[in-house]
Symmetry: C2
Protein backbone atom coordinates (compact mmCIF):
# COMPACT_ATOMS: atom_id res chain seq x y z
CA UNK A 1 0.00 0.00 0.00
CA UNK A 2 1.14 3.53 -0.74
CA UNK A 3 1.44 5.34 2.60
CA UNK A 4 1.56 9.11 2.36
CA UNK A 5 3.34 10.98 5.14
CA UNK A 6 2.59 14.71 5.36
CA UNK A 7 5.53 16.70 6.64
CA UNK A 8 6.49 20.34 6.86
CA UNK A 9 9.75 22.06 7.65
CA UNK A 10 7.92 25.31 8.45
CA UNK A 11 8.30 25.87 12.19
CA UNK A 12 7.62 22.23 13.03
CA UNK A 13 6.66 21.18 16.55
CA UNK A 14 6.17 24.71 17.85
CA UNK A 15 4.72 23.45 21.13
CA UNK A 16 8.11 21.96 21.97
CA UNK A 17 9.57 25.46 22.15
CA UNK A 18 9.83 25.34 25.97
CA UNK A 19 12.53 22.67 25.68
CA UNK A 20 13.95 22.82 22.13
CA UNK A 21 15.17 25.67 19.93
CA UNK A 22 13.72 26.19 16.45
CA UNK A 23 16.70 24.49 14.81
CA UNK A 24 16.48 21.61 17.27
CA UNK A 25 12.78 21.20 16.67
CA UNK A 26 13.40 20.92 12.95
CA UNK A 27 16.15 18.34 13.43
CA UNK A 28 13.99 16.38 15.84
CA UNK A 29 11.00 16.54 13.49
CA UNK A 30 13.18 15.12 10.72
CA UNK A 31 14.38 12.34 13.00
CA UNK A 32 10.76 11.43 13.74
CA UNK A 33 9.99 11.52 10.01
CA UNK A 34 12.87 9.12 9.40
CA UNK A 35 11.47 6.75 12.00
CA UNK A 36 8.04 6.79 10.38
CA UNK A 37 9.44 6.23 6.88
CA UNK A 38 11.49 3.31 8.11
CA UNK A 39 8.55 1.76 9.95
CA UNK A 40 6.36 2.06 6.84
CA UNK A 41 9.05 0.42 4.71
CA UNK A 42 9.62 -2.34 7.25
CA UNK A 43 5.89 -3.00 7.33
CA UNK A 44 6.14 -3.75 3.61
CA UNK A 45 4.46 -0.59 2.39
CA UNK A 46 5.61 2.21 0.10
CA UNK A 47 6.22 5.55 1.81
CA UNK A 48 5.65 8.85 0.02
CA UNK A 49 6.26 12.32 1.41
CA UNK A 50 3.63 15.02 1.10
CA UNK A 51 5.31 18.42 1.44
CA UNK A 52 4.10 22.02 1.14
CA UNK A 53 7.44 22.93 -0.47
CA UNK A 54 10.50 20.96 -1.55
CA UNK A 55 13.07 20.39 1.17
CA UNK A 56 16.65 19.36 0.77
CA UNK A 57 16.96 16.63 3.35
CA UNK A 58 20.51 15.74 2.36
CA UNK A 59 21.90 19.27 2.67
CA UNK A 60 20.16 20.29 5.84
CA UNK A 61 21.05 17.17 7.76
CA UNK A 62 24.39 16.21 6.36
CA UNK A 63 25.41 15.08 9.83
CA UNK A 64 22.59 12.62 10.24
CA UNK A 65 20.94 10.00 8.12
CA UNK A 66 17.33 11.02 8.01
CA UNK A 67 16.50 7.94 6.03
CA UNK A 68 14.17 9.46 3.47
CA UNK A 69 16.53 9.31 0.50
CA UNK A 70 14.76 8.02 -2.56
CA UNK A 71 11.30 8.34 -1.07
CA UNK A 72 8.83 9.64 -3.68
CA UNK A 73 7.65 13.15 -2.92
CA UNK A 74 4.51 15.07 -3.74
CA UNK A 75 4.58 18.85 -3.28
CA UNK A 76 1.31 20.60 -2.56
CA UNK A 77 1.39 24.07 -1.07
CA UNK A 78 -2.14 23.98 0.27
CA UNK A 79 -3.04 23.31 3.88
CA UNK A 80 -2.99 19.79 5.24
CA UNK A 81 -6.66 19.01 4.69
CA UNK A 82 -6.92 19.93 0.97
CA UNK A 83 -3.49 18.43 0.28
CA UNK A 84 -4.54 15.08 1.78
CA UNK A 85 -7.89 15.23 -0.01
CA UNK A 86 -5.97 15.57 -3.28
CA UNK A 87 -4.11 12.38 -2.39
CA UNK A 88 -7.43 10.64 -1.69
CA UNK A 89 -8.57 11.59 -5.19
CA UNK A 90 -6.34 8.77 -6.40
CA UNK A 91 -8.96 6.35 -5.05
CA UNK A 92 -11.19 7.36 -7.93
CA UNK A 93 -8.38 6.61 -10.37
CA UNK A 94 -7.86 2.90 -9.90
CA UNK A 95 -6.03 2.95 -6.57
CA UNK A 96 -7.78 0.60 -4.12
CA UNK A 97 -6.51 1.99 -0.83
CA UNK A 98 -4.14 4.58 0.47
CA UNK A 99 -2.63 5.23 3.88
CA UNK A 100 -2.09 8.63 5.48
CA UNK A 101 0.32 8.50 8.42
CA UNK A 102 1.49 11.56 10.35
CA UNK A 103 5.22 12.27 10.52
CA UNK A 104 5.33 12.78 14.29
CA UNK A 105 4.76 9.17 15.32
CA UNK A 106 8.24 8.00 16.28
CA UNK A 107 6.83 5.06 18.25
CA UNK A 108 5.19 3.60 15.16
CA UNK A 109 6.44 0.08 14.59
CA UNK A 110 5.96 -2.19 11.58
CA UNK A 111 3.66 -4.32 13.75
CA UNK A 112 1.50 -1.36 14.70
CA UNK A 113 1.32 -0.17 11.08
CA UNK A 114 0.38 -3.66 9.92
CA UNK A 115 -2.46 -3.64 12.44
CA UNK A 116 -3.60 -0.36 10.90
CA UNK A 117 -3.48 -1.58 7.33
CA UNK A 118 -5.17 -4.86 8.30
CA UNK A 119 -8.09 -3.20 10.04
CA UNK A 120 -11.42 -3.68 8.35
CA UNK A 121 -13.73 -1.01 7.09
CA UNK A 122 -13.79 1.43 4.23
CA UNK A 123 -11.98 3.80 6.56
CA UNK A 124 -9.41 2.63 9.11
CA UNK A 125 -8.41 5.09 11.80
CA UNK A 126 -5.72 5.23 14.45
CA UNK A 127 -6.85 7.94 16.87
CA UNK A 128 -4.30 10.24 18.42
CA UNK A 129 -4.23 11.52 21.95
CA UNK A 130 -6.57 14.48 22.33
CA UNK A 131 -8.90 13.55 19.52
CA UNK A 132 -6.56 13.76 16.56
CA UNK A 133 -6.32 11.41 13.60
CA UNK A 134 -2.81 10.02 13.56
CA UNK A 135 -3.19 7.49 10.79
CA UNK A 136 -5.79 6.59 8.22
CA UNK A 137 -6.38 3.93 5.64
CA UNK A 138 -9.00 4.99 3.12
CA UNK A 139 -10.62 2.59 0.66
CA UNK A 140 -13.51 4.65 -0.67
CA UNK A 141 -13.27 7.74 -2.86
CA UNK A 142 -16.25 9.41 -1.20
CA UNK A 143 -14.35 9.97 2.06
CA UNK A 144 -12.62 13.27 2.67
CA UNK A 145 -10.60 14.53 5.61
CA UNK A 146 -10.80 17.47 7.98
CA UNK A 147 -7.84 17.65 10.29
CA UNK A 148 -9.06 20.67 12.20
CA UNK A 149 -10.22 20.24 15.81
CA UNK A 150 -11.43 16.88 17.12
CA UNK A 151 -10.72 15.20 13.81
CA UNK A 152 -11.09 11.65 15.12
CA UNK A 153 -14.70 12.30 16.07
CA UNK A 154 -15.32 14.31 12.91
CA UNK A 155 -13.84 11.62 10.67
CA UNK A 156 -16.00 8.96 12.29
CA UNK A 157 -19.09 11.11 11.88
CA UNK A 158 -18.22 11.91 8.26
CA UNK A 159 -17.75 8.24 7.49
CA UNK A 160 -21.04 7.35 9.15
CA UNK A 161 -22.83 10.11 7.26
CA UNK A 162 -21.44 8.74 3.99
CA UNK A 163 -22.49 5.19 4.90
CA UNK A 164 -18.89 4.02 5.17
CA UNK A 165 -17.77 1.38 7.65
CA UNK A 166 -15.00 2.36 10.06
CA UNK A 167 -12.31 0.26 11.69
CA UNK A 168 -10.37 1.61 14.65
CA UNK A 169 -6.89 0.51 15.68
CA UNK A 170 -6.28 0.42 19.42
CA UNK A 171 -2.58 1.27 19.50
CA UNK A 172 -0.72 3.32 22.07
CA UNK A 173 2.16 3.60 19.60
CA UNK A 174 0.02 5.06 16.85
CA UNK A 175 -1.87 7.23 19.36
CA UNK A 176 1.32 8.91 20.51
CA UNK A 177 1.90 11.92 18.31
CA UNK A 178 4.67 14.06 19.70
CA UNK A 179 3.60 17.68 20.16
CA UNK A 180 4.25 18.68 23.75
CA UNK A 181 7.19 18.32 26.14
CA UNK A 182 5.42 15.55 28.10
CA UNK A 183 5.24 13.52 24.89
CA UNK A 184 9.02 13.36 24.79
CA UNK A 185 8.87 11.09 27.85
CA UNK A 186 6.96 8.57 25.74
CA UNK A 187 9.73 8.61 23.13
CA UNK A 188 12.36 8.07 25.82
CA UNK A 189 10.33 5.25 27.39
CA UNK A 190 9.20 3.38 24.30
CA UNK A 191 11.31 4.51 21.34
CA UNK A 192 14.41 2.94 19.88
CA UNK A 193 14.97 4.81 16.63
CA UNK A 194 16.32 8.12 15.37
CA UNK A 195 14.04 10.31 17.45
CA UNK A 196 14.96 8.46 20.64
CA UNK A 197 18.64 8.75 19.83
CA UNK A 198 18.26 12.43 18.98
CA UNK A 199 16.66 13.16 22.37
CA UNK A 200 19.33 11.24 24.27
CA UNK A 201 22.06 13.10 22.36
CA UNK A 202 20.34 16.41 23.16
CA UNK A 203 20.47 15.63 26.86
CA UNK A 204 16.75 15.08 27.32
CA UNK A 205 16.14 12.51 30.02
CA UNK A 206 13.28 11.13 32.08
CA UNK A 207 12.23 12.96 35.20
CA UNK A 208 10.39 10.53 37.46
CA UNK A 209 9.74 13.03 40.25
CA UNK A 210 6.09 13.80 39.45
CA UNK A 211 2.91 11.76 39.19
CA UNK A 212 3.63 10.87 35.62
CA UNK A 213 7.13 10.69 34.29
CA UNK A 214 8.17 13.91 32.58
CA UNK A 215 11.40 15.08 31.02
CA UNK A 216 14.21 17.41 31.97
CA UNK A 217 17.25 18.63 30.12
CA UNK A 218 20.76 18.04 31.35
Amino acid sequence: MRVVIPYTDRNPKSRLAPVLSAAERRAFARAMLGDVVEAVRSAGHDPELLLPAPIDIADADADTTVGVDGVPTTVDDRALTPAVDAVLDRLGEGVAEVGIVMADLPLATPTALRRLTAVGGEVGIAPGRGGGTNALVVRDPSFSVDYHGASYRDHREAAAAAGLSVGVVDSMRLATDVDEPADLAEVLLHGDGRAHEWLVDAGIELDAAGGRVGIRRK
Copy 2:
Protein backbone atom coordinates in the same frame (compact mmCIF):
# COMPACT_ATOMS: atom_id res chain seq x y z
CA MET B 1 -7.83 -15.87 35.00
CA ARG B 2 -8.31 -14.07 38.29
CA VAL B 3 -7.88 -10.36 37.62
CA VAL B 4 -7.23 -8.26 40.70
CA ILE B 5 -8.30 -4.62 40.58
CA PRO B 6 -6.77 -2.36 43.25
CA TYR B 7 -9.08 0.43 44.28
CA THR B 8 -9.22 2.98 47.07
CA ASP B 9 -11.96 5.31 48.21
CA ARG B 10 -9.43 7.50 50.04
CA ASN B 11 -9.29 10.79 48.15
CA PRO B 12 -9.31 9.12 44.75
CA LYS B 13 -8.23 11.00 41.62
CA SER B 14 -6.90 14.03 43.49
CA ARG B 15 -5.42 15.51 40.29
CA LEU B 16 -8.96 15.97 38.97
CA ALA B 17 -9.62 18.51 41.73
CA PRO B 18 -9.51 21.43 39.25
CA VAL B 19 -12.72 20.17 37.65
CA LEU B 20 -14.43 17.82 40.13
CA SER B 21 -15.25 18.10 43.83
CA ALA B 22 -14.08 15.42 46.26
CA ALA B 23 -17.50 13.76 46.28
CA GLU B 24 -17.63 13.88 42.50
CA ARG B 25 -14.17 12.39 42.19
CA ARG B 26 -15.22 9.48 44.36
CA ALA B 27 -18.38 8.89 42.35
CA PHE B 28 -16.44 9.11 39.09
CA ALA B 29 -13.73 6.78 40.39
CA ARG B 30 -16.43 4.25 41.25
CA ALA B 31 -17.95 4.59 37.80
CA MET B 32 -14.55 3.85 36.28
CA LEU B 33 -14.16 0.87 38.62
CA GLY B 34 -17.52 -0.43 37.44
CA ASP B 35 -16.39 -0.15 33.82
CA VAL B 36 -13.22 -2.09 34.53
CA VAL B 37 -15.04 -4.84 36.43
CA GLU B 38 -17.52 -5.21 33.61
CA ALA B 39 -14.79 -5.35 30.96
CA VAL B 40 -12.91 -8.02 32.93
CA ARG B 41 -16.08 -10.08 33.27
CA SER B 42 -16.97 -9.66 29.61
CA ALA B 43 -13.46 -10.78 28.67
CA GLY B 44 -14.23 -14.06 30.44
CA HIS B 45 -12.08 -13.44 33.49
CA ASP B 46 -12.85 -13.30 37.20
CA PRO B 47 -12.56 -9.83 38.75
CA GLU B 48 -11.49 -9.36 42.37
CA LEU B 49 -11.24 -6.06 44.24
CA LEU B 50 -8.14 -5.25 46.27
CA LEU B 51 -9.03 -2.59 48.85
CA PRO B 52 -7.13 -0.93 51.69
CA ALA B 53 -10.32 -0.92 53.75
CA PRO B 54 -13.83 -2.29 53.24
CA ILE B 55 -16.16 0.02 51.35
CA ASP B 56 -19.89 -0.16 51.18
CA ILE B 57 -20.55 0.26 47.51
CA ALA B 58 -24.28 -0.27 47.86
CA ASP B 59 -24.85 2.35 50.55
CA ALA B 60 -22.61 5.05 49.18
CA ASP B 61 -23.92 4.81 45.64
CA ALA B 62 -27.51 3.88 46.12
CA ASP B 63 -28.40 6.14 43.20
CA THR B 64 -26.13 4.40 40.70
CA THR B 65 -25.32 0.85 39.81
CA VAL B 66 -21.60 0.59 40.26
CA GLY B 67 -21.64 -2.96 39.03
CA VAL B 68 -19.31 -4.52 41.56
CA ASP B 69 -21.93 -6.42 43.56
CA GLY B 70 -20.78 -9.94 44.27
CA VAL B 71 -17.21 -9.32 43.24
CA PRO B 72 -14.78 -11.08 45.63
CA THR B 73 -12.84 -8.63 47.74
CA THR B 74 -9.47 -8.77 49.43
CA VAL B 75 -8.71 -6.14 52.07
CA ASP B 76 -5.06 -5.23 52.64
CA ASP B 77 -4.28 -1.97 54.41
CA ARG B 78 -0.73 -1.73 53.14
CA ALA B 79 0.37 0.47 50.26
CA LEU B 80 -0.29 -0.58 46.67
CA THR B 81 3.08 -2.25 46.05
CA PRO B 82 3.15 -4.63 49.07
CA ALA B 83 -0.57 -5.33 48.70
CA VAL B 84 -0.10 -6.40 45.07
CA ASP B 85 3.01 -8.39 45.96
CA ALA B 86 0.90 -10.31 48.46
CA VAL B 87 -1.50 -11.16 45.63
CA LEU B 88 1.44 -12.34 43.51
CA ASP B 89 2.39 -14.72 46.33
CA ARG B 90 -0.51 -16.87 45.13
CA LEU B 91 1.69 -17.83 42.17
CA GLY B 92 3.80 -19.93 44.54
CA GLU B 93 0.66 -21.66 45.77
CA GLY B 94 -0.58 -23.41 42.67
CA VAL B 95 -2.02 -20.43 40.80
CA ALA B 96 -0.56 -20.31 37.27
CA GLU B 97 -1.18 -16.68 36.41
CA VAL B 98 -2.80 -13.61 37.82
CA GLY B 99 -3.81 -10.28 36.33
CA ILE B 100 -3.48 -6.89 38.00
CA VAL B 101 -5.54 -4.19 36.30
CA MET B 102 -5.85 -0.64 37.57
CA ALA B 103 -9.30 0.70 38.38
CA ASP B 104 -8.92 3.95 36.43
CA LEU B 105 -9.02 2.46 32.93
CA PRO B 106 -12.56 3.22 31.78
CA LEU B 107 -11.60 2.69 28.14
CA ALA B 108 -10.62 -0.92 28.77
CA THR B 109 -12.63 -3.21 26.54
CA PRO B 110 -12.93 -6.99 26.64
CA THR B 111 -10.92 -7.08 23.40
CA ALA B 112 -8.10 -5.02 24.88
CA LEU B 113 -8.05 -7.14 28.04
CA ARG B 114 -7.98 -10.32 25.99
CA ARG B 115 -4.97 -8.97 24.14
CA LEU B 116 -3.32 -8.42 27.52
CA THR B 117 -4.05 -11.89 28.84
CA ALA B 118 -2.99 -13.46 25.53
CA VAL B 119 0.37 -11.73 25.43
CA GLY B 120 3.33 -14.02 25.77
CA GLY B 121 6.03 -13.88 28.39
CA GLU B 122 6.30 -14.63 32.07
CA VAL B 123 5.28 -11.02 32.61
CA GLY B 124 2.79 -9.22 30.36
CA ILE B 125 2.59 -5.45 30.66
CA ALA B 126 0.28 -2.76 29.39
CA PRO B 127 2.18 0.51 29.85
CA GLY B 128 0.35 3.61 30.91
CA ARG B 129 0.88 7.10 29.70
CA GLY B 130 3.81 8.69 31.50
CA GLY B 131 5.63 5.47 32.30
CA GLY B 132 3.10 3.80 34.57
CA THR B 133 2.04 0.17 34.62
CA ASN B 134 -1.65 0.04 33.95
CA ALA B 135 -2.09 -3.71 33.69
CA LEU B 136 -0.01 -6.77 34.34
CA VAL B 137 -0.25 -10.50 33.85
CA VAL B 138 2.26 -12.34 35.99
CA ARG B 139 3.09 -16.01 35.51
CA ASP B 140 6.20 -16.42 37.64
CA PRO B 141 6.40 -16.21 41.44
CA SER B 142 9.81 -14.55 41.38
CA PHE B 143 8.40 -11.29 39.96
CA SER B 144 7.47 -8.49 42.31
CA VAL B 145 6.08 -5.04 41.63
CA ASP B 146 7.14 -1.50 42.39
CA TYR B 147 4.50 1.02 41.39
CA HIS B 148 6.51 4.06 42.39
CA GLY B 149 7.94 6.35 39.68
CA ALA B 150 8.53 5.09 36.14
CA SER B 151 7.15 1.68 36.98
CA TYR B 152 6.91 0.47 33.39
CA ARG B 153 10.65 0.84 32.94
CA ASP B 154 11.34 -0.52 36.41
CA HIS B 155 9.11 -3.56 35.88
CA ARG B 156 10.84 -4.35 32.60
CA GLU B 157 14.24 -4.03 34.20
CA ALA B 158 13.21 -6.15 37.18
CA ALA B 159 11.90 -8.86 34.87
CA ALA B 160 15.08 -8.80 32.81
CA ALA B 161 17.22 -8.98 35.95
CA ALA B 162 15.25 -12.03 37.08
CA GLY B 163 15.61 -13.68 33.66
CA LEU B 164 11.90 -13.42 32.94
CA SER B 165 10.50 -12.84 29.46
CA VAL B 166 8.27 -9.83 28.99
CA GLY B 167 5.37 -9.26 26.61
CA VAL B 168 4.07 -5.76 26.00
CA VAL B 169 0.55 -4.89 24.86
CA ASP B 170 0.31 -1.93 22.49
CA SER B 171 -3.10 -0.58 23.48
CA MET B 172 -4.22 3.02 23.64
CA ARG B 173 -7.22 1.89 25.68
CA LEU B 174 -5.13 0.19 28.33
CA ALA B 175 -2.57 3.02 28.24
CA THR B 176 -5.20 5.60 29.13
CA ASP B 177 -5.36 5.82 32.91
CA VAL B 178 -7.47 8.76 33.95
CA ASP B 179 -5.64 11.05 36.36
CA GLU B 180 -5.71 14.57 34.93
CA PRO B 181 -8.40 16.81 33.45
CA ALA B 182 -7.05 16.30 29.90
CA ASP B 183 -7.62 12.56 30.33
CA LEU B 184 -11.35 13.18 30.64
CA ALA B 185 -11.36 14.15 26.97
CA GLU B 186 -10.23 10.61 26.14
CA VAL B 187 -13.19 9.20 28.10
CA LEU B 188 -15.59 11.50 26.26
CA LEU B 189 -14.04 10.59 22.90
CA HIS B 190 -13.64 6.84 23.27
CA GLY B 191 -15.74 5.68 26.22
CA ASP B 192 -19.24 4.27 26.23
CA GLY B 193 -19.73 2.99 29.78
CA ARG B 194 -20.48 4.27 33.25
CA ALA B 195 -17.59 6.73 33.41
CA HIS B 196 -18.55 8.27 30.08
CA GLU B 197 -22.15 8.60 31.17
CA TRP B 198 -21.11 10.08 34.51
CA LEU B 199 -19.05 12.79 32.80
CA VAL B 200 -21.85 13.66 30.40
CA ASP B 201 -24.32 13.88 33.29
CA ALA B 202 -21.87 16.12 35.17
CA GLY B 203 -21.80 18.55 32.27
CA ILE B 204 -18.24 17.78 31.17
CA GLU B 205 -17.90 18.21 27.44
CA LEU B 206 -15.21 18.38 24.80
CA ASP B 207 -13.48 21.67 24.15
CA ALA B 208 -11.95 21.56 20.69
CA ALA B 209 -10.51 25.07 20.79
CA GLY B 210 -6.89 24.14 21.53
CA GLY B 211 -4.25 22.06 19.79
CA ARG B 212 -5.51 18.91 21.40
CA VAL B 213 -9.08 18.55 22.44
CA GLY B 214 -9.60 19.35 26.11
CA ILE B 215 -12.65 19.52 28.33
CA ARG B 216 -14.81 22.23 29.79
CA ARG B 217 -17.70 22.17 32.22
CA LYS B 218 -21.09 23.54 31.36
